[in-house]
Amino acid sequence: MRVVSSLINLAFVVLAGGFAAAALVRFSPGFDVDENSWNPRLTASTIEAMHRARQVEAELPKFYLRYLRGALHGDFGASEAYRQPVSELFRERAPVTARLVVFGTAGGLALGALLAWVAVWPRRAFPELIAASASGALLAIPPAVLALAFFFWQAPLSLAVALAVLPRVFGTIRSVLGDLYSSPELLAARARGVGATRIALRYVLRAGLPQWLALAGVALILAFGLAVPIEALCDVPGIGQLAWKAALARDLPVLCALGLIVTFLVASVQSIGEIVGAAR
């Protein structure tokens, strides 16, 4: 029952999120203006046809319903700025962003876990201070500046994403690790002389699996959010750059699809967290 209710809620939130994103774009200034109207090479009838197409989009509820009908069949419309189907644009750009986001998330979680382990495992104030200071220093750097530095040094941008994700997950990992490392089972295992690797695998990874999964979801969304400024500033041809350019060009079909995807991601992570929490 809980799963069904979460799925219904997920569907509602995704639909409402997509509509809200479309409304934001529709009512932004300059939406009704198409720069191609001033293109001297276009004939009057072509410009008139473009105006008619724009008029259809101006009626938001109608546009959104038609858009959703198409989306259900895998047709997300055509980008006005790129003159290309949105699904094709996403197919071309998704692997670039996926690499950035997945490696960035994995790296951020791994480095965050390592730093949190340094803070928790030795049970000494000094390593804890060092770990917290390293995380605090990274948190103090705007992610866009970090990405720019990596871009100019020609270092992998996914590492910049990882370093931006790290301090944002460090606190949670440290708190979960702290709870797990002070659990009676783990203390007993340490007293029995069980090795650090076995403890990490059995008592930390397995016992805290729901929390780790929830955290991974949050980190994934965080990394996706970071992709927009990073790709826009560093000229990476991914979904983030597409979102930025689409926002500047008021490209409604692209932004509508992005609204649906981002809302789906966030709402799915929340639903999974709710279901896992209820199951526990």
Partner: protein, 268 residues
């Protein structure tokens, strides 16, 4: 640790004073152009050099500190107040209302708010005063950011609904308003203070990122964010490392805010 925290408090006080006393400390107004000195190197007249249109970098940094330090707490307060007001609705026993608040929070967390900033920048008339434009930018940040604290408050309120004292208050016929103000608020107060403290650095960082993208505080008014735009030109950074000063100040402020002791620790 006490020494580190004292250093953090000192740094924050120094940065705040720098911002508050900007008119006295800055040698020139932030928008004064010295047209004979575009991109001037650091000198006695321009301690950190001049930017590409001849404005003193030091003066602009001092004024930027005033903007960023004063307005981030205001934006954080707006978010916390909005978050509290909206999450208070989840205190009603109706499941539909609670679900509605949760869904609204999720939608707001997933909306591409960057469009709102684009809209705002496009809507502002060219003759908008610096004070109005900066208040709008931070005001919008405050409004857009209500969902994060609201999620925390909603979870806390959900934990309170079935508590013994809440049931007793309801059974005694205490009104919802009185329950919220007299019984629930003391439980939420420390959480609200913590959220306020967490949001200040978050908004300073957000403004910096928006400034880098050109969506933050508009020129000519300086902020740490729009001063960082020079970092997009590595040749400018190489020629005048003082361009990094806003980043250094921002990092010092962020680290100091992180190191501030929390309320329970202070009580201990």
């Amino acid at each position: 640790m006490i020494f580190v925290r004292r250093a953090a408090v000192t740094a924050l006080v120094a940065i705040t004073l720098l911002g508050l006393l900007a008119p006295m400390i800055a040698p020139y107004p932030y928008n004064r152009q010295f047209r004979d000195f575009p991109g001037a190197a650091p000198s006695r007249a321009f301690p950190m050099g001049a930017d590409e249109i001849g404005r003193d970098r030091f003066s602009r940094l001092v004024w930027a500190t005033r903007v960023s330090v004063a307005l981030a707490p205001a934006a954080a307060l707006t978010s916390v107040a909005l978050g509290l007001a909206i999450s208070a609705l989840s205190g009603f026993r109706s499941r539909v209302v609670r679900r509605g608040v949760e869904s609204l929070t999720t939608i707001c967390l997933s909306l591409p708010w960057i469009f709102l900033f684009l809209v705002l920048r496009a809507e502002l008339p060219l003759n908008t005063g610096p004070a109005a434009s900066v208040a709008l930018t931070f005001g919008l940040m405050g409004i857009a950011g209500w969902a994060w604290p609201a999620r925390v408050f909603t979870a806390a309120i959900a934990g309170m609904i079935d508590s013994g004292w809440m049931l007793q208050a309801r059974a005694a016929g205490v009104s919802n308003l009185r329950i919220a103000a007299v019984y629930a608020w003391p439980h939420i107060r420390s959480l609200a203070a913590a959220q306020f403290r967490v949001l200040i650095p978050a908004y300073i960082l957000s403004e910096a990122s928006l400034g880098l993208l050109g969506l933050g505080v508009p020129d000519p008014l300086p902020s740490w964010g729009n001063l960082l735009r020079d970092l997009q030109q590595p040749e400018v950074v190489k020629a005048n490392p003082w361009v990094l000063a806003p980043l250094a100040l921002l990092m010092i402020a962020m680290v100091s805010l992180e190191l501030l002791p929390s309320r329970p620790e202070r009580a201990i």
